[in-house]
């Protein structure tokens, strides 16, 4: 469990990563969003007992890490810390499915461990790709991509608004939580009742802030919609990137790359 301060720091750091200037960062957000979705669907489409077929897919995060200049340890730590429902549910597989699926050299592996390992690989690949998408695209970029692909405007401006005030409010909440933790001697408060009045007070402050924000927006000519600052254009490079990603995904899905490498090695040695 990470502390509040740490969570807040991570939030901001992930945001700053997205303002770097690399080839991956410069791609159109739509291309990156579509490619990520294709990647996740392809990974998840592998059946329950697939392990070797998933390995070539590590190429994609590795490429983004290196081309996008993203700190590997930061993302890996986030993946490890994520509250993992997948691990919690997946761990039942080895307990329930004990039939030996595979044995060599005196070791035997049950079907449950294989399917658990498959879930873990999928978990790692999908979570990493989501975090990498935000690290190389920026949240407003993803929002504008969604809007251009037909997401209703109200939802998109809601996302942008939330994102803009996230940091302000989280900082405020962080101060309140620090004060509370000090007063309760490092414990997390003194039960539900003080917590509700804490949240209630924060809520009232939030509403007052929203009223002030609204006044400020009105005086700047707000007419009911938000405008994106940075316009994006879908260029040839984006089309090429998307096509290359789609072709590679298809190849990795249809051909057993690990098996080919294995046969190649047995041919050589």
């Amino acid at each position: 469990m990470i502390t509040f301060d740490k969570a807040y720091f991570n939030l901001g750091y992930l945001d700053t990563l997205s303002y770097r200037e690399t080839f991956v960062h410069r791609l159109d957000p739509r291309a990156k969003l579509i490619a990520t979705v294709l990647f996740i669907v392809t990974v998840v489409s592998f059946p329950k007992y697939e392990v070797t077929g998933l390995l070539p897919f590590f190429l994609f995060p590795v490429l983004v890490f290196s081309l996008g200049d993203i700190p590997v340890m930061f993302i890996l730590k986030k993946v490890l810390f994520v509250s993992s429902f997948a691990v919690f549910i997946g761990i039942f597989n080895p307990l329930l499915d004990r039939q030996t699926a595979y044995s060599a050299f005196g070791f035997s592996v049950s079907g449950g461990w294989i399917s658990f390992f498959s879930i873990m690989l999928k978990f790692f690949l999908t979570i990493t790709s989501g975090l990498l998408l935000i690290a190389v695209t920026s949240f407003p970029g993803i929002c504008s991509a969604m809007q251009k692909m037909g997401m209703p405007e109200i939802f998109v401006s809601q996302l942008l608004f939330l994102y803009r005030y996230l940091f302000v409010l989280t900082e405020e909440v962080m101060r309140v939580v620090r004060a509370r933790d000090m007063r309760s001697f490092g414990k997390k408060g003194r039960g539900i009742t003080p917590f509700t009045s804490l949240v209630g007070t924060l809520f009232l402050r939030t509403v007052e802030r929203a009223e002030k924000v609204y006044q400020a927006m009105l005086s700047r000519g707000f007419g009911g919609r938000l405008h994106a600052v940075k316009p994006y254009h879908f260029r040839a490079a984006d089309a090429f990137f998307l096509a290359a990603a789609a072709v590679l995904l298809c190849l990795f899905r249809m051909y057993n790359v690990v098996g080919m490498a294995g046969r190649l090695s047995s041919g050589i040695f």
């Binding site: 469990m1 059946p47 997946g90 039942f92 939802f155 996302l159 939330l162 409010l169 997390k188």
Partner: protein
Amino acid sequence: MHMADALLSPAVGAALWIGTLGTIAFCSKKLKDSMDEKMVPLMGVLGAFIFAAQMINFTIPGTGSSGHLGGGMILAIILGPYAAFIVMASVLTVQAFFFADGGLLALGSNIWNLGIYPSFIVYPLIYKAIVKADSSPKRIAVASVLSGVVALQLGAFSVVMETMLSGRSELPFGTFVLLMQPVHLAIGLVEGFVTAGVINFVRSARPEIIDSTLSTRPLSAEVPLRKIFAGLLLFAVMTGGILSWFASKNPDGLEWSIEKIVGRPELPEAGHGIAPALKSVQERTAILPDYNFRKPGEAAKTGPKSWPAPDPGTSVSGIVGSAMVLAAVLLIGALIRAFRGRTKRTP
């Protein structure tokens, strides 16, 4: 209880995304027609508030464990169902991106599980039925606790359903339900108490915020009862249909059919193949009847017929192949890093 990508099959993930996107479109249209523009910043800032408030952990007395707020019911009570759903969906979206809670494919399911139930089932059918404009704080508290519990029970049950339909977990349906529902009963009670506390607190400090939702937006005028019933009927048919799959003799049928639709195409080198042991394992298990629901004790009985004889030769080639692929992937990464490092240093 965020659903995770790794437990979903593409068909289930896509189905729930379609449902979620449809609801977002529906709510956006509703809001566009009725909303005054003052709501735009209020919804945005409230979303940020719920996001931040969810990050606060508090000690639950007597248990030693800590809990945190969900916020779906608070939003529904204060903003009404449509705006509440949009706000909740936005909060979950930002969480999916920044905290990787679940993942992007599972986001559709998570918005469904945590957004639809409080806004469109529990709020209109339970909370609104109990609380009127002049209700006492005690009445509000009872309604909130009940709503919190029901919303989380529905959400948890959906998680079970989504996992079962995806067929990635080995957990039997009954065990899974017994695992999820009691845990979420406790979580729902806490959520309900917090919701009651916050609503009553806000009501005593700024009564106009809560009362305005109750008086100016009566649900009956907005959503015809017919539509609610139609929705419930659809829900019942869906649940019934899903349940009947599980009641059927061949519960793996769905996974089998999903695999048929999206599964791997015929392999060109399938015959003289590579790591054939693993692959035939996976092919056979997919059509093995009652596989998901088999109890550990029965495993031994069905033992010998389903697994192929392991062949050390193919396993060596499988392991070497895996190592080669991973090494190649890492090498590519390292080379790019090294190259980038040099180009950065030279100028």
